[in-house]
C-alpha cells in the first residue's frame, strides 16, 4: 500500500492510496483516502486540468450552490446527493467526495449499484430477487430521485447528464443518490460539457447533436432536458423498458437510426394515437400505474417530446409518485417479485405483473375536503385499503404533510381490518371520528365499513372526509 499526499484548495492535505484505483468514469479516476468516508477523483482529461473555468465552476458548486451545507436541511440533502466537498489541486486537479454509503454496493463483484441495474428488465432479472426492489420501493426510489432533481432545479441548476449511470439505487432501503454533481450546468453561466448519455438525451439535443458547437440551432442540456432524462429513468424504473425504443426502424444505418429514434423521430411506444412504435410484447401497460402517473408520462412523451416547456417538473413527479403509493395493493402471489400493484377504477382488478387476482372486492377510500358549510369537494385522491392497512394523520388533515425523509413520520391514527369478508376501521388516534350515520368512533373503538360509508377523519376546516367504495373483482378490461 502506497500513500501519496494530495493538496486541497482550502489549504488542507489528505493522503490517498495511489496504487488502489477503486473506480473509473469517463471523466475521473477514483482512489481511496486515509479517511474511510472520503474518496479522491482525479480528472482524466489533460487539457481540462488547468482550465480556469472549471476551477471557478467547481468553487461555486462546492460553496454557493451546495444544498448539503444548509444548516437546517443539509443532512437531508446529503441523502440525495453525493456532493463534492473539496477541490484537489495537486498532484493533479480533482475533487474530494464522500464515499458512497455501503448500501450502494452489491455484495459481489458487481460493484456500485448503478441505476442501470434496476431500469432494464434483462439486467434486473440477473439480480437476486431481494436486490431487485418491488414496485413500492421503486416508486419510493423514483420519488427520492425526483426530489433531488427538483431541489437542483429550484435553485436554477441543471444536472445535464442524468442517466442510469449517474444515479445509485438501493432498493432495500428505498433510496437513491445522485452522483457526478461536478458537471452541473447553469444557463448563461456554466455551459454543458457533455450532451448526455444515449437513451436519456432529450430529443431536441439529439436532433441537433451533429451541428457544431455555437451553431444557432444547436440545443444543449439544461433544466428542461434534465426533465426528459428524469422521465425516461422513472418510466424505466417502474415499467422496466425504454419509452422510445420500440419496433419502428428509422434507418438502415444503426447510428442514424439511434439519432432519429431518440431525436427527430422520437415516438412514444405507448402513444395513444400512433401504435407504429409499439413493441409486440408490451406486457404491463402504462395505465396500470394508476391515474396520477399515466397522464404525466403520456404528456411528457407526447407533447413534451417536441415542446420542452410542457414537460412535467420534477416536483410534479414527486406529487404523482406520492399519491400513487397510496393506491397500491399487495400482490399475494409469493412468486411475484413486484409485490404491489396500483388499483384504479376502469381496469380489471389484478396484478399486471403476474396476473394474480384478489378474491374479495377491494375497498377504496376517496378523500374530500370541506368547501362551504356542509359542502365537500373531491381531493381527486384515494387510498387502496387492505387488511391491516394503516391510516396516518396526513391522510385526514390538510395541514399535515407526509414525511419527506425515508424514515420517521407520525404514528398511525387508525387501521383497517378485513375479517370474514367484513371491513372494519379501528380508531387509533386520540380524537373521536364521526361516521356518516352520525355515530362517533371513539379512540380505541372499531366500526364497520360498508359501501357508501363516509367518515369525518378530523375536524373541519382542516379535516378531510372519507367516502368508502368497493372495487368489484369481476370487472373486465375493455377490448
Amino acid at each position: 500500500m502506497t500513500l501519496a499526499q494530495a493538496h486541497l484548495d482550502n489549504g488542507k492535505k489528505i493522503r490517498y492510496r495511489c496504487d488502489q484505483k477503486i473506480g473509473e468514469g469517463t471523466e475521473k479516476i477514483f482512489f481511496p483516502t486515509e479517511r474511510e468516508d472520503l474518496v479522491i477523483g482525479f480528472y482524466r482529461d489533460e487539457e481540462g486540468i488547468r482550465d480556469p473555468e472549471r476551477l471557478k465552476r467547481l468553487r461555486l458548486i462546492l460553496d454557493q450552490y451546495n444544498p448539503t451545507l444548509d444548516p437546517k436541511n443539509g443532512d437531508f440533502w446529503k441523502d440525495h446527493f453525493c456532493w463534492p466537498i473539496a477541490i484537489v489541486t495537486s498532484p493533479e486537479m480533482g475533487i474530494l467526495c464522500p464515499r458512497f454509503p455501503d448500501k450502494y454496493y452489491f455484495s459481489d463483484s458487481r460493484g456500485e449499484k448503478k441505476g442501470r441495474w434496476f431500469t432494464s428488465k434483462r439486467l434486473t432479472l440477473t439480480l437476486p430477487a431481494d436486490e431487485r426492489g418491488d414496485l413500492r420501493t421503486r416508486i419510493q426510489i423514483g420519488r427520492h430521485l425526483a426530489r433531488a432533481v427538483g431541489r437542483m432545479h429550484a435553485a436554477g441548476l441543471a444536472h445535464s447528464d442524468l442517466s442510469g449511470n449517474n444515479i445509485l439505487m438501493a432498493p432495500r432501503s428505498s433510496a437513491c443518490i445522485l452522483i457526478d454533481i461536478d458537471s452541473l450546468v447553469v444557463r448563461g453561466i456554466f455551459p454543458p460539457k457533455v450532451l448526455g448519455t444515449r437513451g436519456y438525451i432529450a430529443p431536441e439535443v439529439m436532433a441537433t447533436s451533429l451541428l457544431p458547437l455555437g451553431h444557432r440551432e444547436k440545443q444543449l442540456p439544461d433544466i428542461r432536458t434534465d426533465l426528459h432524462s428524469l422521465t425516461v429513468i422513472l418510466y424505466q424504473l417502474l415499467l422496466m423498458r425504454h419509452p422510445l425504443e420500440g419496433k419502428k426502424i428509422h434507418s438502415d444505418d444503426p447510428e442514424e437510426d439511434d439519432r432519429l429514434m431518440f431525436g427527430e423521430k422520437a415516438l412514444f411506444i405507448e402513444h395513444p394515437h400512433d401504435a407504429s412504435n409499439r413493441p409486440d410484447d408490451l406486457d404491463v401497460r402504462l395505465d396500470r400505474l394508476g391515474p396520477y402517473l399515466s397522464p404525466l408520462f403520456t404528456r411528457a412523451f407526447t407533447e413534451g417530446l417536441t415542446d420542452p416547456y410542457l414537460r412535467p417538473t420534477a416536483y410534479e413527479w414527486v406529487d404523482a409518485l406520492t399519491l400513487t403509493l397510496d393506491i397500491l395493493h399487495p400482490c399475494r402471489n409469493p412468486d411475484c417479485w413486484h409485490q404491489w400493484f396500483a388499483c384504479r377504477r376502469g381496469l380489471s382488478l389484478m396484478c399486471p405483473f403476474c396476473g394474480w387476482k384478489p378474491e374479495d372486492p377491494i375497498l377504496l377510500m376517496h378523500l374530500f375536503r370541506g368547501f362551504k358549510q356542509g359542502q365537500y369537494i373531491s381531493d381527486e385522491r384515494y387510498l387502496t385499503l387492505w387488511d391491516r392497512r394503516e391510516l396516518h394523520e396526513w391522510h385526514g388533515r390538510l395541514d399535515v404533510s407526509p414525511p419527506q425523509g425515508l424514515s420517521g413520520g407520525s404514528e398511525a391514527v387508525g387501521a383497517f381490518f378485513l375479517e370474514n369478508g367484513k371491513w372494519r376501521f379501528e380508531n387509533r388516534g386520540r380524537e373521536k371520528m364521526r361516521s356518516s350515520s352520525g355515530k362517533s368512533i371513539l379512540p380505541g373503538r372499531r366500526a364497520e365499513i360498508v359501501e357508501g360509508t363516509s367518515m369525518q377523519l378530523h375536524d373541519p376546516p382542516q379535516g378531510r372526509l372519507a367516502l368508502f367504495q368497493f372495487l368489484p373483482t369481476d370487472f373486465h378490461d375493455p377490448k
Binding site: 444544498p67 426530489r147 432545479h153 448563461g188 395541514d399 376546516p461
Partner: protein, 219 residues
C-alpha cells in the same frame, strides 16, 4: 386579445408575479424563477379551491416594467421567455403593479351590490438588488396587497427583501410539500374567511400563522 369573462358571483384571487429581469438575474436565478412558476401554477390549478378563483398575471421588470400576461384565469403556464438585462427598478415596477391592480381588480361595493375580489397576492421574484428608490413605494404598496418575496440566485440579498415584506422565502428551499401546504393554506383561509362574513373580510387575514406552520419563512 379577447378579455376573459368575469363571473360577477365569484370572488377572484388575483395573483401577480412580479419578476425581476435585471442583468444580475442572469443564469441560475431566472431559471429558478421559471421552475418555481411552473410548480406554483400546477398546484394552483390542481387545487380544488384555487383552480376556480385564481387569476394570474405576470409583470416583468428591468429598467421598465411590462405586463407580459394581463390578469386572466389560470391556464397552463408554458414558461415565459424572460429577457434579461438592464437595471432593477423595483420602485417603478411597484407603481406599475399598483396601476395594474387598480385597473384589473374589482373593489367591493355594497352600494352598487358588486362583489369585490380578494386582496391581491403578489410574488416578488428577485435577487434583492434594486437600483432605484423603492422604499417609500414599497411601504405603501405592501399595505395594499399580500406580498411574498421569493429570493432567487446565489447572491440573494435577503435583508433587502425583508424590507419589502415580512414574508420572505428562498425558492431553492421550497419543496413540493411546502408548495402543497401553502396552496392548501390559501384555500382554507379563503373559505374560512367567507364562512365568517362575506362583507368584512377581503384579505388573507393571518398569513403569518401559515408560515409559522410550514417553516419556510426566514426569520
Amino acid at each position: 386579445m379577447i378579455r376573459p369573462e368575469i363571473d360577477p358571483n365569484i370572488r377572484r384571487l388575483p395573483v401577480y408575479m412580479l419578476v425581476d429581469c435585471s442583468s444580475s438575474m442572469n443564469g441560475d436565478a431566472i431559471e429558478a424563477v421559471d421552475q418555481g412558476f411552473k410548480n406554483l401554477t400546477v398546484k394552483l390549478r390542481t387545487n380544488p379551491y384555487t383552480s376556480d378563483i385564481v387569476w394570474f398575471s405576470i409583470i416583468s421588470f428591468d429598467s421598465i416594467p411590462r405586463q407580459m400576461i394581463p390578469l386572466c384565469p389560470l391556464g397552463e403556464y408554458r414558461g415565459a421567455p424572460f429577457k434579461i438585462g438592464g437595471s432593477s427598478n423595483l420602485g417603478r415596477a411597484l407603481i406599475f403593479l399598483r396601476e395594474c391592480v387598480d385597473q384589473e381588480v374589482r373593489k367591493q361595493s355594497a352600494e352598487r351590490g358588486e362583489k369585490g375580489d380578494w386582496r391581491p397576492l403578489v410574488f416578488l421574484m428577485s435577487d434583492g438588488r434594486p437600483t432605484d428608490n423603492w422604499e417609500a413605494v414599497a411601504a405603501a404598496v405592501s399595505k395594499e396587497m399580500n406580498f411574498v418575496a421569493c429570493g432567487v440566485g446565489i447572491d440573494v440579498n435577503i435583508d433587502m427583501l425583508k424590507k419589502v415584506t415580512r414574508t420572505v422565502v428562498l425558492m431553492k428551499d421550497l419543496t413540493q410539500e411546502t408548495f402543497n401546504q401553502f396552496i392548501d393554506f390559501l384555500g382554507a383561509t379563503m373559505t374560512t374567511a367567507s364562512h365568517r362574513s362575506d362583507s368584512q373580510s377581503d384579505g388573507l387575514s393571518n398569513m403569518d400563522s401559515c408560515y409559522s406552520n410550514i417553516k419556510i419563512i426566514l426569520s
